[in-house]
Symmetry: C2
Subunit: 218 residues, 2 copies
């Protein structure tokens, strides 16, 4: 399995959100930052290897084997991210690029031992769940902060957008996973939110609120 093949499987999994939807060539090309024609070539190869179901012009979906491979790569990626943050003091906006490289290292023992070193974490630094060896993971019941109503409270459990810009914004404003967020007001005009986090008051735009996941507590 080449790096490129692994990246395609991962991309297909992410676009399909883990389900078995039919994914379009264009969508994959966009996600991979490559050309549709290149995607078609690779899809054919993955199809030969029974990692994806493919019918010309009809899109692709992962087979069980493909899904399992994708999950194992995602597992590695997220475990390495935890390692970088917990053991090497990376900040959460710096880990993705390096984890993209580390996820392709081939050694089952390595990843099992890493899992153990990190004490079998269930979530990565962005709040995304880490699949276990068999590809199983808990999906917690989370909502976007933007879906909350005034006076709702929630625990910050993840980010939707994990771009460096957004994560740095959160750092700057001392918003971290685990923080309790209360919606004190909503502005109809621009959709912005008035929040209380750790006794501090904030006003955040709708765009910010649409990229923070919370677990409702009351």
């Amino acid at each position: 399995m080449t790096h490129s093949e692994e990246n395609y499987l991962k991309a297909i999994f992410h676009i399909g959100k883990g389900g078995v939807n039919d994914i379009s060539t264009n969508a994959i090309a966009e996600q991979m930052e490559t050309k549709p024609s290149s995607v078609t070539d690779m899809i054919k190869k993955l199809s030969e290897k029974n990692l994806v179901n493919y019918k010309k012009y009809k899109g692709v979906s992962l087979t069980d084997a493909g899904k399992s491979t994708a999950l194992s790569i995602i597992r590695k990626h997220r475990l390495w991210e935890v390692f970088l943050v917990e053991k090497l003091d990376f900040s959460w906006d710096e880990v993705h690029e390096v984890a993209e490289q580390l996820e392709h290292i081939k050694s089952e023992k390595l990843i099992d031992k890493l899992d153990k070193l990190l004490d079998f974490p269930k979530y990565d630094p962005h709040g995304d769940p880490i699949p276990d060896k068999n590809g199983n993971f808990k999906v917690i019941d989370k909502k976007l902060l933007s879906e909350l109503s005034v006076n709702d409270k929630g625990i910050c459990v993840g980010v939707k957008d994990s771009s460096s810009q957004f994560l740095k914004f959160l750092d700057k404003n001392k918003i971290a996973l685990g923080d309790v967020i209360e919606v004190t007001d909503k502005e109809d005009f621009d959709g912005s939110f008035q929040l209380k986090i750790n006794a501090n008051s904030f006003n955040v735009s709708n765009q910010i609120a649409s990229n923070l996941f919370v677990q409702i507590t009351e």
Copy 2:
């Protein structure tokens, strides 16, 4: 810099033992387990990039830039080996293959932080020195056990052959780096050695003695 280019530089460095000797195409091909014609192709590319000095039919040597790159890869390889042994409980015969992959991960921050996590180790699990960020490392004054005379004593500081077979042999016989080894007798007939290690007596073949490095203490 591709993985392959990095591997060639590392191979040239190892064959030349860090010096600026002229290395033959065949020697590189053997070390890399590839064909001489492939080596010629790659050498040309490395020469274009001023990483090696090359004159047709006359062999190659590393330039300063090439040597510095080789050292940085060796640094990464050996740091990862320490990590695998110290943090992930790998045994010293299992680390090489995985480190061969990890050494190509590109992130200066990663390797600096790893170095720190491991508390700036000076030697890898096989006793080989780890270059610092600037490519400097201490060469300790070591000899092959086979060069010792009867009644010489030395501390075991490294292995020449780091094949899995040899390392497993040492494990099986509880010989580890740091052990004090005393030569109690030498057999002229087959060149074998009678040793005392940790109060145990051993007889080892000349081949074994020719692959263990010791630092003489008296």
